[in-house]
Amino acid sequence: MAVVETKDLTKVFTPGERGAVNDVNLLTREGEFMVFLGPSGSGKTTLLRMIAGLEDPTAGEILIGGQVVTHLPPRDRGIAMVFQSYALYPHLSVYKNITFPLRAQGVPKEEHRGKVEWAAGLLGIGELLKRKPRELSGGERQRVALARAIVREPTVFLLDEPLSNLDAKLRASAREELTQFHERVGTTTIYVTHDQIEAMAMGDRIVVLHEGFVRQVGSPREVYDDPADTFVATFLGSPPMNLVDHGDVLVGFRPEHLLPRPLVEGPAVEIGVRVTGIEYLGSERIVYALIDRDRFAEQKVVAKLPATYEVGVADGEAVEFAVAERNLRFFDKTSEKRADSRALVWG
């Protein structure tokens, strides 16, 4: 096991243009499950590929287990990687796919059988060893890819959107399996995804990336509850955080915190809104509305009402909503960074 560290890591594909990855400084913890989260084009995969050694950094350093590996080829970094497509070798059986890294690194043949049985047992694919990749289902392929990655006991695991090829149902169970798998092997893991649910559910810490810059590093709770800037605030959460223009600051609050007045306890800010649309989603209702007060009139907000709140809210109706003060977040309007909390004079 080892920690991964990047120092001012930068990758510029076309000189003169903005880099795909810019000055990234990260340090994982021992055995941590770290998630790189960001929209497509945010540089998360490029960052992972640089850590893997598949992409040469333009500047900066990469350390694995305290050793500088910046210019080492992938095979000398002690890493294993699971690719989005799984990249199973199509002409080899599952058994040979799993032993491939062992053969490539000259592990004595008599040790292969035992190691494969261990890895296959861990992932429950003992029955599939004689099959070819094309005879496997998506979930089975993913497990074979994991077995191939773990068989040589890497110090670091890199996973590049390994669940994106699975259907929604399978994805949820695969997510849980991956988490359990990580708990069992305890290897430092870096996981790339654009799916915030995966990131929230699996990550010990989440690195939110945007346009090649790290926007925030923190636990799922921190990035969700205390976003560092408006990008993180609106990227995470569905629907995203409401941002209301209030003089020199932007006031943010989550849709699930914008509730009908009677549901909000303690000191709160009242917001009168006019409902413009309602989506019924079973477990909750999404209410789209416009603020109905003179100074902030016509600003859009979204509220998420739990199904347990059964009072009718009708389209076109004026409703008195409120947000508890402790749930308000403030952002500087020009820098879009987090600003200090302040007393809000509303209206």
């Binding site: 590929r49 294993a80 990687m81 497509s85 990249a87 070798y89 199509p90 002409h91 490539a104 090829n165």
Partner: protein, 285 residues
């Protein structure tokens, strides 16, 4: 799903359709071989009698044509020459085309594609145009009347075509596979040898067969560059020595064709499964 498919396959109309299609194709493809075989063993008088049923032996079968082919021409020699030249040309073609195609498919980005097209365009120049420059090259190298002249010349058209063909194969292999192999402990070159080549096996096989067939049947260059009978290949030797004026030695001609084409047919059938698998393999998905 599988049960349903199986049931449909067992249904009668499907069976009739399948067997009809199979029979038509089998007859169509086997006919030239059967025809060559029958003709090789027929007496000449039987061959030329229009009242005879051409599909049957109306007179006693004979080994005369084979005897003529093997004893009175240099056919065994031509056969060996063709095999040797074929093997050499295949070797040269693979040595040049495989790395070139890989480099063009993978490493040079946008230019790779343009260069690939440019290389393919050279294949469109008719060989008859290149004749005179090629003969200069052959004489400069001092290879006139030697089997080596064609071994040097044939790759000029087998290599571009093979590069173009293999490029398509290499491009269809996802880069992630090579990335995976490199993470798993190989160098890029090892990944190429241990992964890319086995996966493109059917493409490489196609190149081998294309090249070998070309050596067997090419006429113009072989005829001009080689004049001694003992240095010729089947493609030139057979028509020159078995067609004398207006006399066609049909029996021997057919026997020669049959013997020349059988190895290629057998070779092809040997790897038929690999060909089909190669074209349908689901590499990643």
């Amino acid at each position: 799903m599988i049960g349903l498919k199986g049931a449909r396959r067992r249904r009668l109309p499907f069976q009739i359709y399948r067997w009809t299609a199979l029979s038509v194709f089998s007859v169509l493809l086997a006919f030239p071989f059967v025809w060559m075989a029958i003709t090789s063993f027929k007496q000449t008088s039987d061959l030329y009698n229009l009242n005879n049923n051409p599909f049957l032996f109306n007179e006693r079968p004979t080994l005369e044509h084979l005897k003529l082919l093997f004893e009175e021409t240099l056919f065994p020699r031509w056969f060996l020459n063709t095999a040797f030249a074929g093997a050499m040309v295949v070797l040269i073609t693979l040595l040049l085309a495989v790395p070139a195609a890989y480099a063009l498919a993978r490493l040079t980005g946008r230019w790779g594609e343009r260069l690939g097209i440019a290389i393919f365009l050279t294949y469109l120049i008719p060989p008859t145009l290149l004749f005179i420059p090629m003969s200069r090259v052959v004489s400069e190298l001092g290879l006139q009347d030697s089997l080596w002249s064609i071994i040097v010349v044939y790759p000029t058209f087998t290599v571009p075509f093979s590069i173009w063909l293999l490029m398509a194969f290499f491009k269809s292999i996802p880069r992630e596979l090579e990335d995976a192999a490199m993470v798993d402990g190989l160098t890029r070159f090892q990944a190429f040898v241990k992964l890319v080549i086995p996966i493109s096996f059917s493409g490489i096989l196609t190149v081998v067969i294309f090249t070998f067939t070309l050596v067997t049947q090419e006429f113009v260059y072989a005829l001009t560059f080689i004049s001694s009978a003992s240095n010729q290949t089947i493609g030139v030797g057979v028509p020159i020595y078995l067609v004398r004026g207006d006399v066609y030695y049909w029996g021997s001609l057919m026997a020669a064709c049959l013997i020349a084409s059988l190895p290629i047919a057998v070779f092809y059938n040997l790897f038929l499964d690999r060909f089909i698998a190669g074209f349908t393999v689901g590499a990643v998905k």
